[in-house]
Structure formats: C-alpha cells, structure tokens
C-alpha cells in the first residue's frame, strides 16, 4: 500500500503499461520533456526514451491520426489531448474515424488505443478550459468512456483501458489531480463497465462520476445527519455502462438522483434516467432528479464557477425533491 496522488497514479499507470508491453507508446503536447502541463507524466521520457514518449506540435488532428494509424498496424498508442475542450479541434478523428472504423470495415480493423485528457471545471480556467465533455464521447457509438474518481481507480482503469482492444477515452479530472489516496502495491487491473458502490443506504440512490463522487459523498453525509441514508454509486465508466448496478439499487431505494458536471442537456444522467424510466419505471417511488451544471458555459470567476457547478447542498436539495 502506498499513498499516491491522482496525478502520480497517471504517471505510474502509464509506466506500468509501457513496461509491460513494448508496443505501447505515448504522444502529446508537452508530455515528454516537460512532464505534461498537469505534471501527470513526469519521468516517462527519461524512463522510456524519445522513441516511445514523443512531444508533438500543437496539432491535435495529427496526434490522433498517429494514434489511429499506429493502433491499426499493431501498436497500442496512448495519446494525450491536453484539455478535453480541445477534443473539438480533433473531433473528426474521434467521432468519424476512430469510433466508426471497426464497424465500417466489418471488423477488419481493431483500434486498441487510449486518449487521455484533462477534463472538468473548478480551476477558474473559464469556458474554454473547463468543460466536462464525457457526454460528447458517450454519444458516439464505437468508443469506450472512462472517468476515474480516485488514484486507485486511475491505476486499475487505465491499465484496463490500455489492454482493451477498443478505443477508450480516458477522462482525468483536473480538480482531482492533487487528490491523495491509498493504492495497493503490484499490478492493478480493473474491468471496464463495473460501477463501485461508495456508500450503502436504503433511502435513495445517488449516481455520480469523477469529481462529482466526493460531492455526492459529502451530500450523503449531510443527509445522514438528517436521517436519510443514501447509496452512492460511482459509475467509473459511461461506456460500458453499469445499468445493472443502478437498477438493482433503485429496486431497493425507489429513488434516483444523478449528479452530472456537464451542462444539463443530453448528459449521461439523461441517458440513465431514460433507461430507468423505460425499464424500471414501476420501481420508482419519486421523480428521477438530475443535478447538473445548468445549461451554461462555465464562467471564470471563482464565485461564479462555484455557483454553477453541482455542490453538496444542491445534491441534498435534489434528494429532497426526489423524496418529497
């Protein structure tokens, strides 16, 4: 057991996979000599040398094109898109090429690649450097979508992502990079598509992702002091989606509250809500409440950003609405 930051877990996970498999290479902007703008890849260039860790120009399309072309010819590339907002400049590669090629080629082409990216708000970076775009990815058939909330999960899910035969978008939350947590020694390898129940409670099921997990847990603490016992489920991946875990929990609690960081419309919470409303409607004893950032870009000023993002107290309020 060691205590690691989420940031150091990223570097450790990449190193673990690069050591294990020679076909793993890592490319991106400022990832090598500088160790990444979030310092999440420090030491990799020194360890694996400039043929396996490569600094690129500011050319996101070229970066993802390299990842795709390398993956289809026998390598297992890891690419970094520095801030997830920048997926927009390379969305063609992600949505039209990487996601669709296995299908269009009737399975001839396999794309074992990982694109990791700094996602999410809370750093006062303003609207173009703070987005949660995991729902952009979830909407595209052919991708897998992972978003860990703890240093341990960074290790286990990243290893799973690299070994997965499909393209995985791996969303690291910028505001979690300095979070510390216990990580077991030795290789950690998780399975994608398994949610984790972070807390058990009989009254309501709160489902959250990444940086919203600690907020959901804080809300659950507060609710407990009012006599409401909440289950908190950390989805960990959106594709594959652990519907069973959520449905099973609702079958006993009868109440669902989702907590999304992304702007309101068409987020994963909407998808999950619509699944439950289609398949488990009669398990519900109250409305499904979605707590989200409102449908706005994120403002830069600290006070405004804090007011925009879901807080523990807004989650508590959402639970009360579902139970009312």
């Amino acid at each position: 057991m060691a205590e690691l930051t989420y940031r150091d877990a990223v570097a450790a996970a990449i190193a673990q996979e690069m050591e294990r498999d020679e076909s793993v290479v890592f490319i991106g902007e400022d990832v090598g000599a500088a160790g990444g703008v979030f310092k999440a890849t420090v030491g990799l260039l020194e360890k694996f040398g400039p043929t396996r860790v490569l600094d690129t120009p500011i050319s996101e399309q070229a970066i993802l094109g390299v990842a795709m072309g390398a993956a289809m010819t026998g390598m297992r590339p890891i690419a970094e898109i520095m801030f997830s907002d920048f997926f927009a400049v390379s969305w063609d590669l992600v949505a039209n090429e990487i996601a669709k090629t296995r299908y269009m080629t009737n399975g001839q082409v396999t794309l074992p690649l990982v694109i990791r990216s700094g996602n999410g708000g809370g750093s006062r970076f303003g609207a173009q450097h703070s987005q949660s775009v995991e729902n952009w990815a979830m909407a595209i058939p052919g991708l897998k979508v992972v978003a860990p909330s703890t240093p341990r999960d960074v290790m286990g899910l990243f290893a799973a992502a690299v070994r997965d035969p499909d393209p995985v978008l791996f969303f690291e939350h910028k505001s979690l990079y300095s979070l510390k947590g216990e990580v077991e020694d030795g290789e950690i390898l998780d399975e994608l598509g398994k949610a984790a129940t972070r807390r058990e409670g009989k009254d309501v099921t709160i489902v959250a992702l990444a940086a919203m997990v600690p907020r959901a847990l804080a809300a659950a603490e507060q609710l407990a002091s009012e006599g409401v016992e909440a289950t908190v489920i950390d989805l960990r991946s959106l594709v594959p989606l652990d519907v069973s875990a959520v449905a099973a929990s609702i079958a006993s609690t009868g109440h669902l509250v989702t907590v999304e960081e992304n702007p309101r419309l068409c987020g994963w919470g909407a998808e999950l809500s619509s699944i439950i409303a289609e398949e488990n409607l009669f398990d519900l004893d109250g409305p499904i409440v979605r707590v989200t950032t409102p449908h706005v870009p994120l403002p830069a000023a600290d006070t405004l950003e804090d007011a925009a993002m879901p807080s523990a107290s807004r989650i508590v309020e959402g639970v009360r609405r579902s139970l009312a």
């Binding site: 043929t51 094109g65 390398a70 082409v109 594959p240």
Partner: protein, 350 residues
C-alpha cells in the same frame, strides 16, 4: 469561374519543365503490369457505372476514370506489406493492391460477398490483408492516419511505407497542414500523393487556392522539395513513385507528390460534370492515360496480341465479378449490430 483552363495550361507547362530529363523507362514486365492494372481499373469502373444505371449500385460512388495511371504506378511500385490510404474515390487504389474484383463489386452493390459485407460501402473500401488500410470519406483525416501507420512501421523497424492518396481540394483543409508538418518533423516513411484533377466537387481548385499548384507550391512550407508529375503518364508516375518509396524506406522522410490528372466523369454518381467546358474535357480526353500507354507499349515492340489477350482476360474478370456479386445475397441483418466493439457486438451496457 476563372482559371480552370488557365490552370490546366499552367499545370502541363510545369509538368513538362519537371520532366526535362526523362528517366529510364520501367522494365518491360513492369510496363505490362502497369498497363494491366490500368485496364482492370477502367474495366471495373465502367462496369460499376453501368450497374448504377441499372440501379444495382445504390448510394453514391466516385469514379477515378482517367486517373488510373497514378494508382497503377504505386500499385506496381509498392512492396506487398506497404500501406495504402485512399479516399472515397478509391476503387483504383484498392484494385491496385491486388484486392479481387468480386468483393469490391459486391461492396458497391451492398451484398454479403462485399469486402466489408456492405457495412462500409463504396466510400470505405478496406482490405487489411492486402495492405489497403481504408478509404476515407471525410476530407483530410486520412493524411494524419497514414502518418500513424508510417510511425508504426518506423517504430517496429519494418521498413514499410505508407502511401496516402488525396485530391487537390484536400490541400486546403487543416489536417493536410498538420499531417505534412508532423511527417516532416518526425521524418516518417510516408508518401503523400495529391491527384490534382483540377476540380473539387463542382468548383475548380484554382478559384479557391492561393497558389497555382496546391500541393507542390506548399512543399517548401514543410521543408520538402516540390514534385510535379504528369499523372496521366504511367512511366513518369512509376518513376516518382519508386523514388519516393525508396526515400521513405531509406529513412529520409516523407515526400509530397502532385500528379496532374483529370477525371473523365462527374464527381460522383449523380453528377454529369456539366460545369466543365467542352474544350477542357476534350483536352483531357485527348490525354487519356490508357490509349497513350497502349500506343507506347506497341511502339516499344510489345505484341498487339499480348495486349489484346490481357484486355480480354480483364474483361472476363469484370464479367465474372459482376455475376458473382449479382448472385450474392444481401448481408445478414445481424450485421447491423456486429462489430461496433471488438467483442464483435454492440452492447454498451451490462
């Protein structure tokens, strides 16, 4: 609509300048192979066009009639394990890698014998076993993907080369710029081949491009030498192809080739191509790569009977592919849900 004829003139001038010292011709066997490939492409695509008219090819399809010499030259010059990346106008480049006609025809017709069982369609022809790494229908991306295959070849030390074909219009999209720069910086074993047929869909490239030669005039922006070649001359094409492939294989980095050519028909199935002047069309039909090359072979002493036999062989191949594709049933509907992910299925949830 200025300049399409002006540019066609400019282009052929530049070409003749570039080819002042003619290289030695390819050996006779290669020349026959080049001719056979061109005849096969021509025969295949003419049949594909007939099948459109009969309603048997659905959707869209983009013919390379008139542009065969480029794909044929690379087809003959490439090593078996090299990689091809093509566009929606990729029938020729697919056949050039030795992919049999039946699955290609079947794919155009949406049949189960199709190269991708109908899931991809005419714009996405792919045959990994033949090094045909895909046809890409959104402008630009595949230049960056070709870099990836080249990077992989370099990393794995296989001396494979990636060859990436695209049109003149593609030189104005952002991905072109990103791909060329990275290829040059990383000295990737990749050959970029711009087939300049003077037109994008229905708009002349000259009306939307800041330079006369959309690829060659940009080579220096990536530290590369400008290479302009007559894309309708199979021998000249073969020469630049072998040079560029050798350079890449030797570790000397990418090349950017601009090949002057012309498509005889419209942009796609639905397009009669009427926006082009009769003069322009006449001029280029007069530069059709096939009869010219046939004449050249005869002039070099190849027996007419050899060519006729080869042509008959190809014609039979086309007929057979047509019949086989027609006889092939539509794909199983299960395929709708297959291979979204690598477990073979489409399940995104547990």
């Amino acid at each position: 609509m200025f300049g399409s004829r002006a540019q066609s003139k400019g282009q052929s001038e530049a070409v003749s300048e570039a080819s002042e010292e003619p290289p030695p011709p390819p050996d006779p066997a290669t020349r026959l192979a080049l001719y056979r490939q061109m005849v096969a492409m021509r025969g295949f695509e003419k049949r594909a066009y007939d099948l459109f008219l009969q309603g048997l090819v659905k959707g869209t399809s983009h013919l390379g009639l008139g542009q065969e010499a480029i794909a044929a030259a690379f087809g003959c010059a490439m090593r078996h394990d090299d990689y091809t990346f093509a566009t929606y106008r990729g029938h020729n480049h697919t056949l050039a890698r030795g992919v049999p006609m039946t699955p290609v025809m079947g794919e155009l017709m949406g049949r189960s014998c199709g190269l991708m069982a109908g899931k991809g369609g005419s714009m996405h022809l792919t045959s990994v076993e033949h090094g045909m790494m895909g046809s890409y229908a959104i402008i630009g991306a595949h230049l960056t993907i070709a870099n990836g295959a080249a990077f992989s070849a370099k990393s794995r030390g296989t001396s494979q080369v990636a060859v990436c074909f695209f049109g003149d219009g593609t030189t104005n999209i952002g991905a072109f710029h990103e791909a060329l720069n990275l290829a040059a910086v990383w000295k990737l074993p990749v050959v970029f081949v711009c087939e300049n047929n003077l037109w994008m869909e229905y708009t002349p490239i000259a009306s939307v491009t800041a330079v006369a030669h959309p690829a060659a005039d940009r080579a220096s922006a990536y530290g590369l030498a400008p290479i302009l070649v007559d894309g309708n001359d199979a021998d000249a094409m073969y020469d630049v192809a072998t040079t560029a492939l050798a350079r890449a294989r030797a570790g000397d980095g990418p090349s950017l080739i601009e090949a002057a050519t012309y498509r005889h028909g419209g942009h796609s199935r639905a397009d009669p191509g009427k926006y082009r002047s009769d003069e322009e069309l006449e001029y280029w039909l007069g530069r059709d790569p096939l009869p010219a090359y046939r004449g050249r072979l005869l002039g070099a002493g190849v027996d007419e009977a050899v060519l006729a036999a080869l042509e008959a062989e190809v014609a039979a191949e086309v007929d057979e592919a047509t019949e086989q594709a027609k006889a092939s049933p539509p794909p199983s509907l299960d395929l709708v849900m297959s291979d979204v992910w690598a477990d073979g299925g489409s399940s995104w949830r547990n």
